[in-house]
Amino acid sequence: MMLSGTVWKYGDNVDTDVIIPARYLNLSTPEELAKHCMEDIDPTFAGAVQAGDIIVAGDNFGCGSSREHAPLAIKGAGVSCVVARSFARIFYRNAINIGLPILECPQAVDETESGDRLSVDLRTGTITNERTGRTYHTSPLPEFIMGIVQSGGLIPYTIKRLQGRNR
């Protein structure tokens, strides 16, 4: 699956409270949440983000709360993929579970700037920066996790498993 989009770059420890502040946790649909995505770190983001854009960030992206509203808001905003130096573990699980593609690639992060265009091949884990022409390879997802991704998220994956059990 090929993705391509303009980069929004942020630093280390982007926490779930700035991705979607708690004052909006009385909302729960991706569309409603997207209107406030990244509001406390970058008030321009929600109004200007285009479908397919890519968030690039430093270490420990998504640290803090377990709120699934965070990846839902990002996905709802039309972001096609998040590339970070590293992810906080609950955010990592949540993104996989709801079908938001994420990749860990420190070198790509270090050599990418806001406004660059990245193309990402999720199948091979290859990231290309169209401005610099440089290509990066990330380690593929473990097979077990890839199974969840290929099913379209944890819910379709579990439905398949439950059906298998009842057969």
Partner: protein
């Protein structure tokens, strides 16, 4: 080669087990308890419905607590709570806790005996790691993971590496679990234990009360940890006695367990700690804080809303007055903590000192309600996160501390050591 606490508990919960597990293994496990709250449950219930199952795997093992935006802060929150309440009724869940009987989930569940040593617990709340204080493997997940665990009683885990932190030396006056964990996070950073389990050990924590241990395990997530565990001992047994009404298993780490890192900390040198905005790792000893005026002091939360915390705050506030420029908000963690505090006279002390006492709620900790900050305002808080905008306006500030520093600061109007009173 031996195993850590986390490895041993996971090994005994394997779907195809028990068998030996090692860090990095991806495994499927049975869970003993599944938890969600009023902000994570609505999404979990939506995903649960998509699974097409008619019941949860075991009604007695699913806990729903309305604690974040309750008592309902607005119409949308009220609707979320109504949805959770309806689900609990329809599926006949005995452990649904509503206003008047509820508490902050991570104070409530251990108090009610719902978590036992050796359990494997998953919760749609990042501070689910609190139950590690009881010698359980407990970890936070998102709503979709929890929906699946509610339906199947199972989840998948990557067996974590473990960091063992050994504390020795006698604690200084006014230093408690909160100061130990803040100091530790200051040392290893907010991602110092990312994806890992933290194992707390050593003579200092052996003498720590259960309340102090809950505080430490609670903040493992603030170092990126997946879990924060204590081995079972006499203190644990005394706590669960009369609360936990089912058999459970105690675990100890093997002496030859393999750790990603072992950290030894001389706790006798640790002063009360303060974490500056906007990360819990920005810690300083209170003597090096300088002049930080505050507008609000919050004492409560799943981190420090237990009886011991309120006793410490009361010891400082007794016979004193909250500074005229400060709003001091005290939130007992559960109805039981509230009642105990009332019977001990702590509530009277707080009110006479000029503090506001609230019914249990997560409220201000996450900027929900009951103490939101305006632009430019500063709070000292016994809660667990000081991220930008966490307690309100994006230009407000939260300084994390234990109940002793928070109470002393409330009196002096600036961040202060209790000895300055």
């Amino acid at each position: 080669m031996g195993h850590t606490l986390a490895e041993k508990i996971i090994a005994d919960h394997l779907l195809n087990g028990p068998a030996e597990v090692w860090p990095g293994d991806l495994v499927e496990v049975h869970v003993d308890l599944v938890l969600a709250n009023d902000i994570t449950a609505p999404i979990a219930l939506r995903e649960f419905e998509k699974l097409g199952v008619q019941r949860v795997f075991d009604p007695a093992k699913v806990v729903l607590v309305a604690d974040h935006f309750t008592p309902n802060k607005d119409i949308k929150s009220a609707e979320q709570c109504a949805q959770v309440r309806r689900f609990a009724r329809e599926l006949g869940l005995p452990h649904y806790f509503d206003v008047g009987r509820m508490g902050i989930e991570h104070v409530l569940l251990p108090e009610q005996g719902l978590v036992a040593p050796g359990d494997l617990v998953v919760g749609a709340d990042s501070h689910t790691c609190t139950y590690g204080a009881l010698g359980a493997f407990a970890t936070g997940m998102g709503s979709t993971d929890i929906a699946v665990a509610m339906a199947t009683g199972q989840t998948w885990l990557r067996v974590p590496e473990t960091i063992r932190i050994v504390y020795y030396g006698q604690l200084q006056p006014w230093v408690g679990g909160k100061d130990l964990i803040l100091y530790t996070i200051g040392k290893i950073g907010v991602d110092g234990a990312r994806y890992m389990a933290m194992e707390f050990a050593g003579p200092t924590v052996d003498t720590l009360s259960m309340d102090g241990r809950f505080t430490m395990a609670n903040m493992a997530i603030e170092a990126g940890g997946k879990a924060g565990l204590f081995a079972c001992d006499e203190t644990t047994r005394a706590y669960v006695h009369g609360r936990v009404k089912r058999p459970f298993r105690e675990y100890q780490a093997d002496p030859d367990a393999r750790y990603a890192r072992v950290l030894e900390i001389d706790a006798s040198t640790i002063e009360p700690q303060v974490a500056f905005p906007h990360l819990p790792e920005n810690t300083r000893p209170v003597s090096q804080v300088g002049e930080v005026r505050i507008d609000q002091a919050v004492i409560g939360s799943c981190t420090n809303g237990r009886l011991e915390d309120l006793r410490i705050a009361a010891a400082i506030l007794r016979g004193r007055r909250v500074h005229p420029d400060v709003r001091c908000i005290i939130i007992p963690g559960t109805q039981q903590v509230y009642l105990d505090a009332l019977r001990e006279g702590l509530i009277e002390t707080f009110i006479e000192a000029g503090a506001a006492v609230s019914t249990p709620t997560c409220g201000p900790c996450l900027g929900g309600h009951m103490g939101i900050l305006a632009a430019g305002e500063r709070a000292v808080s016994t809660t667990n996160r000081n991220f930008r905008g966490r307690m309100g306006h994006v230009d407000s500030e939260v300084y994390l501390a234990g109940p002793a520093v928070a109470a002393a600061s409330a009196v002096l109007g600036r961040i202060a050591h209790p000895d300055e009173l």
